[in-house]
């Protein structure tokens, strides 16, 4: 995963011709850790770290009435003024595009950036909205009955990307903040295919 993130960091810097006015905004939950790692890699390369923010889009979802509330909403933290900034949204997996749509709506409530880009570790296809990523770590084609889970060392102990059946419990082994969303099931992992990213 490190090598992929390094390439993504390079592409983000090249796309924006440096780090001036650059703000990386990670989407809760795994996008936040990925954004902070990319920011570190950019700092190593450019000697200057971009500003970092976090966004929880739960309250901007379009399906609260149907799926019910997600129990725990993570913090949203947008650093300073983003008017005129060049914002890059960072997330782990891009699928239907609905999360990104929600993130765009939420960012608009904080200001009017000069440009908003999108960087994702995994693009799994299956878009339901006209949204595309500027920077992609890895593209994989998955069936609708499959799901890809990204695990990061900061939250899950180790980095990995796993493809599981759509109905499988989350791969985060119950580490989600506030807890209680999933219980560890050791059998699941062995059945899961590993994708490299």
């Amino acid at each position: 995963m490190d090598r992929t993130l390094r390439r993504m960091a390079d592409e983000i810097v090249e796309l924006h011709d440096g780090t001036e006015d650059l703000v990386l905004v990670g989407i809760q939950r795994r996008g936040v850790q990925l954004a902070s790692r990319i920011a570190r890699l950019i700092a190593e390369r450019e000697g200057e770290a971009p500003r970092l923010g976090a966004l929880d889009i739960t309250l901007y979802r379009d399906d609260l009435q149907t799926i019910g509330p997600r129990p725990v909403v993570g913090p949203t933290d947008i650093p300073g003024d983003i008017d005129g900034a060049r914002v890059v949204i960072v997330d782990d997996v891009l699928y239907t595009g609905r999360t990104v749509r929600a993130a765009l709506d939420e960012l608009a409530d904080f200001g009017r950036p000069a440009r908003i880009g999108l960087a994702v570790l995994i693009d799994r296809g299956g878009r339901e909205l006209p949204i595309h990523a500027d920077v992609v770590g890895k593209r994989v084609e998955l069936r609708r009955d499959q799901r890809v889970d990204v695990l990061v060392a900061e939250l899950d102990g180790a980095d990995s990307v796993v493809v599981v059946p759509k109905t499988a419990p989350p791969s985060d082994a119950g580490r989600a903040a506030g807890g209680g969303r999933s219980k560890k099931s050791p059998a699941r992992r062995s059945a899961a295919g590993e994708a490299s990213a």
Partner: protein, 322 residues
């Protein structure tokens, strides 16, 4: 997925510690929304909420209204005076008429204990109790818990004393249930005429002297002395009440530790609490008001959605994953 709280929020007594913890945790991110330049998220867009207040209220009603508006719900305020309506039938009729206009939630304050539950059993909309008689005022209890947790970090083992008119106070009851469920030690202090007879059976310490309560407590929740009670002969006079049970700076300074001061409002300055305490460095009375909006947003959010039949349809369509 049904709502993690069920259909309604009527009281803290029936909730589990996990449910209360969930509401407190959910309130955290909502605090930030009220700090934004645009204090609004689209979460409850299209939902219609009726605030049905049969008793006067400023703070609670405004707090609920802010919470609803910051979640983008459409709100209607209905203020009804309880004196002329014959309770049961009229209440249900009012609510059924509102429901016929396709509302989603009712926030209700009513002078009769149990009114919220009565209503909740008879209409399909979610019901949130904003205070029913002398029974409970769950969102006030929750915002008190949140304010205490903000300050102390953990509620377990925390020593909290409720001072004043416990007998008539729905705030006291919600506090007692909530604090005990979250593992805090609860005491009450006040004139015996204003304490329920069987209070000790709740496993609650009773202090007859406010000085003793201050020696023991890490936080005091000072209740409003409901002035209308005075004429009913519960206490001899306001001055005497202040002299014996008033939370004053002199008394607080005599305790050997700092004591956090809460008050659900509205305050009678110079009666149950002195001005230099209410405005003093250990007062979190305005933090309570700020937290009230976040708690009510959390409750609205957690009760919204969660229509099981819709959840089933959603599961079978793609796009559940982000």
């Amino acid at each position: 997925m049904t709502s993690p709280l069920g259909k309604d929020l009527l009281a803290l007594e029936p909730l589990t510690p996990e449910q209360i913890g969930l509401i407190l945790d959910t309130a955290e991110p909502f605090k930030e929304i009220s700090e934004r330049a645009i204090k609004k998220v689209p979460t409850l867009r299209g939902s219609t909420i009726v605030n049905l207040f049969f008793e006067p209220s400023t703070r609670t009603r405004v707090s609920f209204e802010f919470a609803e508006k910051r979640l983008s719900a459409d709100t209607v305020n209905v203020a009804a005076s309880g004196s002329s309506v014959s309770k049961g039938e009229t209440l249900v009729d009012t609510a059924r008429n509102l429901e016929a206009m396709r509302i989603d939630m009712v926030v209700m304050r009513h002078g009769a204990s149990g009114a919220a539950q009565f209503l909740a059993q008879r209409i399909e909309s979610n019901v949130i109790n904003a205070g029913d008689g002398t029974h409970e005022h769950p969102t006030q209890g929750l915002l008190d818990l949140l304010t205490l947790r903000d300050h102390f970090g953990d509620l377990r083992g925390l020593r909290v004393c409720i001072v004043g008119d416990v007998l008539h106070s729905r705030v006291a009851r919600s506090n007692i249930w909530g604090l005990q469920k979250m593992g805090a030690d609860v005491a009450v202090c006040g004139p015996r005429s204003l304490l329920p007879n069987a209070i000790a059976e709740f496993g609650i310490t009773v202090f007859d002297r406010v000085e003793a309560a201050m020696e023991w407590a890490q936080a005091l929740n000072v209740l409003r002395l409901q002035l209308e009670r005075m004429t009913a002969g519960y206490i001899p006079s306001l001055r005497e009440y202040n002299r014996v049970f008033g939370v004053t700076r002199e008394r607080l300074e005599r305790a050997d530790h700092d004591i956090l001061i809460l008050h659900p409002g509205p305050m009678n300055r110079g009666v149950e609490i002195d001005s230099d305490v209410a405005d003093g460095p250990h007062s979190v009375i305005l933090n309570q008001v700020t937290n009230g909006v976040a708690i009510r947003m959390a409750v609205l959010y957690l009760l919204a959605g969660g229509r099981p039949e819709l959840a089933e349809t959603a599961k079978s369509t793609p796009g559940g994953e982000r």
